[in-house]
Symmetry: C2
Subunit: 369 residues, 2 copies
């Protein structure tokens, strides 16, 4: 590695009067967020040892089937009964074992329910302080420890999407809830603390900053142009070199100003501000395209850690202008002093190249859509 470093350095020294090729500075579609696309920085030398693969230890997994006694009672179960899937919410004291999907309260919640829900509509104590009232749940995606989306069976992944919708319906109806964040952490470097396949849901008493800014920018676009900025975007990105994949209901593309290497978004073609009206075919469609994209990422970059998060609105005022979507952030670089202190990002992978590679990998699977 060191000799390669020296060679690269020598080339740089001798650039002389050659035509300079600049990195690109790109702004996000909606946010005032800039990224430098700096592909050469991916080649810089590194004198830290490569991280070792971190195998999970052999402790008993509290999320595996059979260990329901290690967690609180479920708030929602999908059970297999006589071949049919049954949703069971009457689980206050029971711990069923034959479940397919199991949603439980997070034992270490960031947000907790109010003691008197009826009086809990106005909970922020000032414009800079409040109690973290809300909900924090874990959705166990499968009774099988390793059934992560890239490898999960499609029907199981469809159940997961339906569980997202069921919990979103329940949580968004509570008067003290202003936002519901549905997200997934995969791998230690992406912040997962347990290896069993799981997602999380956090319901918050305020609309988080990123969503508020996206909604404001979408509303401005809608009022200026009379249409949804995401509906527009889908048409543009479908014809761009950033398109990764498409099925009847969804488009996957690498966003123009990706801040993460290999970042991609899954966007529904049907305009809707959230998933509450999602039908069976759409749940299948998103499961299908998410599995294909995550499998491509896994094969292409050697099973990297990643996060995904759904962006949505539960405010009826946003129905016209906001459009839900799912953003996938592979964890392939580290935000350092520059990013953390400025809010400007450096991405070493050109989004167009990320899309090309992901697209090729999906085509190579020859998956049927």
């Amino acid at each position: 590695m060191q000799s390669e470093t020296l060679k690269v350095a020598a080339t740089h020294f001798n650039l002389g009067n050659q035509k300079m090729v600049y990195n690109e500075l790109r702004k996000d579609y909606l946010l005032n967020r800039w990224v430098v696309i700096a592909t050469e920085r991916g080649r810089r030398p590194n004198d830290f040892a490569k991280p070792k693969t971190q195998p999970a230890n052999n402790a008993v997994c509290p999320l595996c089937a059979g260990n329901e006694h290690m967690t609180p009672p479920a708030v929602l179960l999908y059970l297999k009964s006589n071949g049919d899937i049954v949703k069971d919410k009457d689980t206050e004291t029971l711990r069923h074992k034959n479940w397919l999907i199991r949603c439980i309260p997070n034992l270490y919640p960031a947000f907790s329910p109010p003691q008197n829900p009826a009086n809990a509509t106005h909970i922020m104590k000032s414009d800079s302080y409040g109690s973290a009232i809300g909900h924090h749940e874990v959705i166990i995606e499968s009774p099988n420890h390793d059934e992560h989306p890239a490898d999960a069976e499609l029907p199981q992944l469809k159940h997961l999407i339906e569980a997202y919708v069921d919990r979103l319906r329940d949580l968004s109806a509570k008067p003290y809830v202003r936002y519901v964040s549905i997200f997934r952490n995969y791998g230690k470097e992406a912040g997962a603390s347990l290896t069993h396949a799981h997602s999380q849901i956090i319901a918050t008493p305020i609309v988080p900053r990123t969503i508020a800014e996206e909604v404001a920018a979408s509303r401005k676009f809608h009022s200026d142009n009379g249409r949804c900025v995401f509906c527009d975007l889908i048409e543009k990105e479908k014809r761009s070199p950033r398109l990764v994949h498409e099925n009847s209901g969804f488009v996957v593309f690498a966003p123009y100003a990706s801040v993460h290497p290999m970042e991609f978004w899954v966007v529904p073609k049907k305009h809707d501000m959230n998933l509450l009206k999602m039908g069976k075919a759409e749940a299948e469609g998103v499961a299908e395209i998410l599995k294909a994209s995550l499998k491509a990422l896994k094969d292409l970059v050697n099973d990297p850690p990643y996060n995904y998060g759904i962006h949505l609105s539960i405010d009826e005022n946003d129905a016209d202008c906001y459009h839900w979507h799912l953003e996938v952030y592979p964890q392939l670089s580290i935000w350092a002093g520059f990013e953390k202190s400025t809010g400007m990002y450096i991405n070493t992978v050109m989004p167009e190249n990320a899309a090309t590679e992901l697209k090729k990998t999906i085509q190579a699977f020859n998956l049927k859509f």
Copy 2:
């Protein structure tokens, strides 16, 4: 570890009708950025193996004294000559060896200088695209590989601060530069790619988002109240449980809405939007208090990775309202799907507790100020 997990879980199950203690939701002084202070989450179980300490490999360090041929010529050197410190900028073709501080262009720059600086005042091509024109430099903090701030000699650390000011002066005077970010990455997990003690400077053609938002909020506070929000803050935090340390010129405190565990800020008592008018005593003062605080962090949390970044303005219009400071972000947690998709943060350490522990550790050093 697993048995502890089970015990914690059992305690939680039996909470019953006990009085609920909520996590706090706090908003930043200036930014529309919220954090949940969730100390219990620090106790959640983790079935990943502990990361191994990553020793540096034994490759030749390109930043060590004697290896100047491995890097581009310096843009600024501090040389020791007859006992005096000499600043040398006439180094286009020379590679001096007897340096104390050495600033070089980054070989893998995110931003690069314009080919025709005279014509480079208007470089953004649209409101969402431009070339990444600017500068990206490395400041080698010492000829000694391991002379990091917590352990550096004070005079050497003072040279480092003076080098920041010298490079800031040079870069901020260029007509195409709108911002100069001075930052430091320590440790692999904080994004450092080389272990030799070094800082970085990036000059950008736009004002980054975080700074722009801080300036806008500071300007609003100034126009509403007729004074600087940071000058106000210093007085408040000096009397708060978040005070970490103070010397004649600087205050260190854990910010009210810290988004990083053990985060602290170094703020000058003298109002100034940047470091350009900094005198010798102030350079000594910031070196002194930065060393004490970083040494406390190192001793308290077992030499953790961290980033720091200076927030400043180079726009004369901000002279009244903006106040430079240095923010230190220990890398003790991972931003996951929730943080990345919402812009809302979870911090498992109460800022008041962080301040108390840092303060105690500094007092235990019995360092003289």
